[in-house]
Symmetry: C2
Subunit: 618 residues, 2 copies
């Protein structure tokens, strides 16, 4: 039944050969990789104003324009930088690969950790913001914000477990719908203003503080969230159809142009309509002023909601791929490397969903709380990626290396400054958590790598030693111990099996009292066999300890190097609930015995017939 | 660490020989077995008044006296009956054994199911009532009622897992303290009244309804809860020191006298002081009137609280013993039969605690809600037990059989009438749940028995066939398959082990593409071995299906009857978190393979060294 449910939700398994078909071109690649970056225009402006308005009142709207200009400048730098990255790294991996190759392991792992944290926050922030839009338009839904948000994460998880091609189809359309929505709002908004419309006077309450540098930097930090997601394209180059590099560069350029127009436009429009953000989402309030509560109002609400939910989907394209790359190199558990039935990296998808759902619950799906943690991770990876590119240009010195190095150098410097600004201005609001978390993750990742290296070294046989290895070796002698509880068909079967795999066999039984010990000896003596039976008395009701004690005792002439196979029968029952009726001591026993490297546990299945069948056939 | 915690809570393991010392005489046997029955005087009177007062007002207090008299009559009948049962069934088991031996399996299992349900309710009701007493005296604790109640259940669980002797010590003293408390309240209460004290006029509000039969029967049903727990003594005869029958009979008699005095006394006292039960516990309100808020008030509050918590302990003596007896006969999962480290029936104790804690949470620790489910179970078992005794007398016709049969017959009839009364009057308030639950449990118990019988029949070797069984049989041939992922020390070790247990060996590998298949073949070819390597290609990323397909294919010349041993290596790691870094595919593989009765899974441990150790020793 669980299997069927999985089939319905996830779809039938796909073969490895189906892989090629799951890639995308420009038309579908743009919306699926850009939705994060594009959708952030829905909250970036609002979060800038939320810092400024309470402090400086109406002056905030003017400052918004300047801060937006600075952020757009940063966007242009990033676009130029990342177009160079895409060209030089057609296999994707983004900041992690670039930093690792050029700056070394620590830098690479740091970039990987920072990006992972940021992907998780992208899901939490985008989903929370999306749900905020809808609850701004439909106030009765407000109390269910957290539940709706978590449900959305679950939906994204299922959608992505189905695989990348289908997700681009599902998740592509809303991006276009959103672009159309905001463009129409910009056009109608400006026309209405030119037509002589006077927006209602804003009822802004402020502390009348002076415009300080720290205030502007705080606002700038919040605005930086508009740039998260830009790196998604360079991470996902191999997800594009051939020629993938060209496709990716084109998508990145289109993406930047779209952000520039939408983010810049919204900032200018906010300066005209001066809605006060706070209780409700700014975009929704602006749409209400411009269109009234008509079709376009609901169209904007719904597309903004949907694109924000889908923006989280960018993280679903990026995170599993990133951790799969890192898993292949041994920095994170290798389970994250495996593709599931539908060729998506299922474990990565489930991990991302779980952690971000927990974050949403912990932060009550509040965008302004989550935003404190956001952006710092992605800006660290921006910086490392571009510093890596800079070093590459200086080292390789190819054609036109200097202007290229300059682009990456300036980009790296700018984003490094942004990291410092964000870390300082948002420290108390949550950045401290990320500042602690990223080094911790780096430490753990290096530990994990060390473990895998250690295992590999313990198991590895170098090619030159292969032909010295003799399988036909007599250094192992196998002996068998058959623990028996009573003389029944199961124990007879185990004893017979023992005969086929060794010469040296012992049947072993633990009795809690003299009487039961005598009984088992008597019944055993009637069997035609030369296998000796050892009966031990134990006041405790356990088998493991007497068995291990016996193996170590002089009575059992164990020679070092011999293997001991312990045969354990295991019922396999016809109804699941029958399992509840049998001791699961086999599993416990197995675990205890396997702690000893010279003991092999052979589990012998014993298929029980249906209760009905035996009754009639008794 | 978990083990240490367990040691501290539960104590060191006891040997089987320590068993004798864990039994009790009259001094400790009375409080441990009687606390349920005795403590119910704390709520029985109150629950009678809670039915009567809202309907008929002050008249209720007079009716209380009549109803209490009827219940005391029933108590006397039960005591006489159960003294006969104890004498005839010195091995305990109570209603379950008596009904099964005399009335057949269905009746016995029904009694067992009914008693089990009642034990669980005893814990829920007693603990809830105990906490009600304390929150009546200390009102600020009221909001934490449910949490405190569940904590008390946890405490009882730990206490009982430590074993029966210690529990009798811990739980014995409060029973005596409670008896002293109530007796002093009775004495002082009556003296104060004789001394001319006039209690404040009761502020009873009532609907002024007529005194109907149905109303009195409802009140009677609630009062019947005072009799639950009387059967505990007869169930626990083997827990007494020798002569156990005599000790048990004495304890039962003492118990009845104590209930008679306390319950009767409280009813008469309530008629004088006329406190209105409802918001707070009646006993606590009476104590306040009689003693004021002085030492005796708190002494009564605390001892009542403690005895009610400890009353639940009666169920902890009864339930695990009952289910252990039923488990021995195969009606409930046999895990319930086993004694734990401290010789208590650990699984039964944990089961009882879990279910009753769930009930407390579900019913919000509200005594009046739980009382609707209560008493019906125990009265069913009373009826079956005494009908069983009646049948026994009629069948055996020993000395003085007629008066004895008369005692049990009248007792059985009276309790049967009580069952009908309770089921009808409390049907809507929860009795319906029990009326459904008990037959359902009986059905499940018979199913369980059938399964165990079926297993037994499948495994059993009759004594006369034992000497026909030849272990030295060549009907089994063992073959080995060694699945390998790559050629490393682990797979070499598995192949070497294979050589020691069979002639017919195949190494088996699944490759996802041509390249990796070629690589493994090449490396394998360098090994000095005659074991053939089979490489299969699978577009899916799984081993089980290709392996099973191979076994069934013509390529593998499997002969029916042969056993196939599949060797699976299992890492054992030095740090628990290392487990997270390795696929647990072995467990999945093992489960799938064991579904085939001709496949044995041999798990080969591979102890990994510490990461540090290998690094230096590389």
């Amino acid at each position: 039944m669980l299997k069927n449910l999985k089939r319905v939700l996830i779809g039938r398994p796909l073969k490895n050969e189906a892989m090629g078909k799951e890639q995308f071109g420009i038309i579908w690649g743009l919306p699926i990789l850009a939705s994060d970056a594009i959708s952030s225009v829905a909250y970036a402006g609002q979060e800038i104003l939320l810092v400024l308005v309470p402090a400086i009142g109406l002056l905030a709207f003017k400052q918004l324009t300047f801060i937006s200009a600075a952020i757009i400048g940063l966007l242009i730098l990033l676009t130029l930088s990342y177009r160079q990255t895409i060209e030089n790294y057609p296999n994707g991996g983004g900041a992690y690969i670039v930093a690792k190759e050029n700056l070394g392991i620590i830098a690479g792992v740091t970039a990987g950790a920072a990006l992972s944290v940021d992907y998780i926050l992208t899901v939490a922030v985008s989903v929370s913001s999306g749900v905020e839009q809808i609850t701004s338009a439909f106030l009765p839904l407000r109390p269910y914000t957290v539940i709706i948000s978590v449900a959305m994460v679950a939906l994204l998880m299922v959608g992505n477990l189905r695989g990348t091609r289908e997700s681009s189809r599902i998740f592509g359309i809303p991006t276009y719908a959103f672009i159309v929505a905001i463009l129409s709002m910009l056009v109608v908004g400006f026309m209405k203003y030119k037509g002589g419309y006077v927006p209602p006077a804003p009822t802004v309450k402020s502390l009348g503080e002076p415009i300080t540098m720290i205030l502007l930097l705080k606002a700038f930090s919040n605005g930086c969230t508009a740039l998260t997601g830009v790196e998604a394209v360079s991470n996902a180059v191999p997800n594009f159809k051939e020629p993938s590099t060209k496709h990716a560069r084109t998508v990145l350029l289109l993406l930047s142009v779209i952000i520039l127009v939408l983010f810049g436009g919204i900032s200018l429009l906010a300066n005209i309509y001066r809605v006060e953000p706070g209780k409700e989402a700014m975009l929704i309030m602006m749409a209400e002023q411009i269109f009234g509560r008509g079709f376009m109002f609901y169209y904007i609400t719904v597309t903004t909601f949907v694109i924000l939910i889908m923006a989280a989907n960018t993280a679903y394209s990026g995170f599993p791929l990133l951790v799969a790359v890192m898993a292949r190199e041994g920095y994170v558990p290798r389970q994250l490397r495996m593709r599931g039935d539908r060729l998506s990296y299922s474990n990565g998808i489930v991990l991302l969903s779980t952690v971000s759902a927990l974050l949403i619950v912990a932060f009550n799906a509040n965008v302004s709380s989550l935003i404190g943690l956001y952006a710092i991770g992605v800006f660290i990876s921006f910086t490392l990626s571009q510093t890596g590119m800079l070093k590459k240009w200086i080292r390789d010195r190819g054609k036109h290396w200097f202007p290229k190095a300059l682009v990456n150098g300036v980009g790296g410097l700018a984003t490094a400054i942004a990291v410092v600004i964000i870390a300082f201005t948002k420290f108390e609001e949550g950045a401290w958590l990320v500042v602690i978390l990223i080094p911790l993750l780096v430490y753990l990742m290096l530990k994990v790598k060390k473990h895998y290296m250690s295992v590999r070294n313990q198991l590895r046989i170098p090619p030159e030693e292969l032909d010295k290895i003799e399988i036909e070796s007599d250094r192992y002698t196998n002996r068998v111990i058959v623990p028996i509880e009573s003389i029944n068909k199961s124990s007879v079967r185990a004893l017979r099996f023992a005969k086929t795999i060794a010469e040296n066999i012992v049947a072993f039984s633990v009795a809690t009292d003299e009487e039961s010990g005598k009984e088992i000896k008597e019944r055993y003596s009637k069997l035609k066999t030369d296998i000796p039976l050892i009966v031990k008395y134990s006041p405790f009701r356990k088998v493991v300890e007497p068995l291990l004690k016996f193996i170590e005792s002089a009575e059992y002439d164990y020679k070092k190097g011999d293997m001991i196979t312990v045969i354990l029968p295991q019922f396999t029952v016809s109804r699941w609930w029958h399992n509840l009726l049998h001791n699961q001591t086999r599993i416990f026993l197995e675990r205890e015995l396997l702690k000893h490297k010279h003991i092999v546990v052979a589990v012998m299945p014993l298929r029980l017939k249906d209760d009905k069948a035996t009754e009639s056939g008794r």
